[in-house]
């Protein structure tokens, strides 16, 4: 086992354990913190794949923004007395667990049925990522400029929608004079 493989197994184990804890934790705050650990583990997996840009973007966007959003939402929607008494998973979670295991088995079978899946991913040459090329193809009309622009419109719509939904309306007073 090369050191790289040992490192990978460690990172994968931490990520999986954190994911399971995130999904089954009783208190929502702990679930969110376990989710943050999972997201950091996934960022490290991206780094081992030599997708350095996306490793950093994962930390910046997911951990730095989305996880904080989730934390805020949890803090704003809690009823402190009843939280720790109720179970975190609904009734019938055994069937759901069996379904998830079934899906996992199907996916793993599909992966192992493909002979090329066993190729060993070696280290790429240094500048294989070529961020400049990514930037150019995002702005190229024959490339991916349209999805990029559409996603920016989507973000504007989300911004406006989220503000409209979440803002507290002051109660109207009386009638007009």
């Amino acid at each position: 086992m090369t050191p790289m493989q040992i490192t990978f197994i460690l990172i994968a184990a931490v990520t999986l354990v954190s994911a399971v804890m995130a999904v089954t934790a009783r208190r929502m705050m702990h679930a969110a913190l376990w989710l943050i650990a999972t997201l950091m583990g996934v960022a490290m997996l991206f780094a081992t794949l030599q997708a350095s840009f996306f490793a950093v973007v994962q930390v910046m966007v997911y951990v730095g923004a989305i996880a904080i959003l989730i934390l805020f939402a949890i803090m704003l929607t809690r009823r402190s007395t009843l939280e720790s008494d109720q179970a975190s998973l609904g009734s019938g979670w055994i069937i759901n667990a069996l379904a998830a295991v079934g899906v996992f088995a199907a996916l793993v079978t599909a992966v192992w049925a493909w002979p090329a899946a066993e190729t060993v991913l070696t280290e790429l040459p240094k500048d294989a990522e070529q961020l400049g090329l990514l930037g150019q193809i995002i702005a190229d009309p024959n490339g991916f400029a349209v999805p990029f622009e559409v996603s920016s419109v989507l973000l504007v719509a989300v911004l406006v929608g989220a503000i409209y939904l979440a803002v507290e309306r002051k109660p109207q007073r009386g009638g007009r004079q």
Binding site: P3, L33, S52, V56, V59, M60, V63, A65, M75, L131
Partner: protein
């Protein structure tokens, strides 16, 4: 010996490597051990360095406020930080009732870790740097954002309404000021063509603060807000929300927050000098790396002095002023600046450097003047014009003109 003086870090690394290989370790293990020792030394050195930073700040703030700083404990009070360290070590750790154990204890650790991880990607000299990421700048922004998590965890784990409110306000401020910071970081990236910190420092034949001073100013202000330093220190002020998210911390845990604050302030001065003041560049810095280190230290000390000066002389912002300042001034300004700089750079590709830099300088000056006119016009319009008449004279000084006017 001259080799050691010229480039001590490379010399020591070489010596360590040969020693470890001589003991029979494999090459990879020797490299990993070297990295581990280097990381340990850098982290410990940074934390020890904070004592000097705290001492310098207290003396300077004292002088700004027309008093001596600490001057009892040792000559010029240089052992004051050590006395404070001993006091903080021996204080009792108090656990508030109903606290959440894991976030409460993890928050100070995460706070310091987020700052120390930033030291990995900053180039201290031509050959002295942790790792040369090809996305180094983005890495620094991302890791700086991890400190906000520590604030939320501290506020939540304290089981204290006021700590939670303070944490909310602090995080709102931090995530708001990330926006102009990241947008203005695009300007050094555009001027260099790469996100790597080493490339940015090497590209600065002309310092970027000369090429784009407005971007440097916006970046500096956003970074001071990111640290949570005065005038943006409503999160930790005693008169606001009883010192915010770290109200329930005592002893070494509070000491860790304190260390993280000062270390972060120094780290942003390192970052600012690396990005805009040319980093380790100076006469003779490429051949003699230790000179580069000295230049870098001088530049970042000057910027740190500026940060301390801001703390000592400016009053604190109110929270709505702070948000207005960010969203209504800094963000549109930085967006306009980035768009115009990109346009100008694209139109001027291929022209010589002597043409590009003055054009960008003039562009920055024009944007700044326009912004300043708009802001003062906005404030002037809001203040109602005062017109005085005989029954309610306006209190302006009017020099006495003649006897008949004065008696009338």
């Amino acid at each position: 010996m001259i080799d050691f003086l010229r480039d001590p870090i490379a010399f020591l690394t070489q010596w360590l490597n040969t020693t470890l290989l001589g003991w029979g370790l494999s090459e990879q293990a020797a490299q990993i051990t070297g990295f581990a020792i280097g990381a340990f030394v850098a982290a410990t050195g940074a934390m020890m360095f904070v004592t000097i930073l705290i001492w310098a700040e207290r003396k300077l703030i004292g002088r700004i406020q027309d008093r001596y700083g600490p001057n009892r404990v040792g000559p010029f009070g240089i052992f004051q930080s050590i006395a404070d360290l001993v006091k903080i070590f021996i204080k009792e750790h108090i656990d508030p009732v109903g606290m959440d154990w894991l976030p409460f204890n993890l928050a100070p650790v995460l706070s310091v870790a987020a700052v120390l991880t930033m030291w990995v990607a900053i180039p201290f000299a031509a050959t002295v740097y942790g790792v040369d990421f090809n996305v180094g700048l983005l890495y620094l922004v991302a890791v700086g954002g991890l400190g906000e998590l520590a604030v939320i965890m501290a506020g939540w784990g304290s089981n204290n309404k006021y700590a939670l409110l303070g944490a909310f306000r602090a995080v709102a401020m931090f995530i708001s000021y990330e926006v102009p910071m990241v947008i203005t970081l695009l300007i050094p990236v555009m001027l260099t063509g790469s996100l790597s910190m080493n490339d940015i420092v090497r590209q600065q034949d002309v310092w970027f603060i000369v090429v784009s001073p407005l971007a440097a100013l916006i970046f500096f202000i956003s970074q001071v807000a990111e640290v949570g330093r005065s005038p943006f220190d409503l999160t930790e002020a005693e008169s606001e929300l009883v010192s915010g998210f770290n109200v329930e911390y005592s002893g070494l845990k509070f000491g860790m927050f304190y260390v993280a604050d000062f270390l972060h302030a120094f780290t942003i001065s390192l970052l600012f000098s690396a990005l805009f003041l040319g980093g380790w560049r100076g006469p003779g810095a490429e051949e003699i790396p230790i000179l580069g280190f000295i230049y870098f230290a001088i530049k970042s000390s000057l910027v740190y002095f500026l940060v301390i000066l801001m703390r000592g002389s400016l009053p604190r912002f109110r929270v709505d002023h702070m948000m207005d300042f960010n969203w209504k001034l800094l963000t549109p300004l930085s967006l306009v600046l980035v768009v115009l700089t990109a346009l100008a750079l694209k139109l001027m590709t291929g022209l010589s450097l002597w043409v590009q830099i003055p054009v960008l300088l003039v562009l920055n000056g024009l944007v700044f003047l326009m912004a300043q006119r708009m802001v003062t016009g906005f404030f002037r319009r809001r203040r109602p014009r005062e017109v005085g008449d005989r029954s309610r004279p306006v209190a302006h000084y009017t020099p006495p003109q003649s006897d008949s006017e004065a008696q009338g």
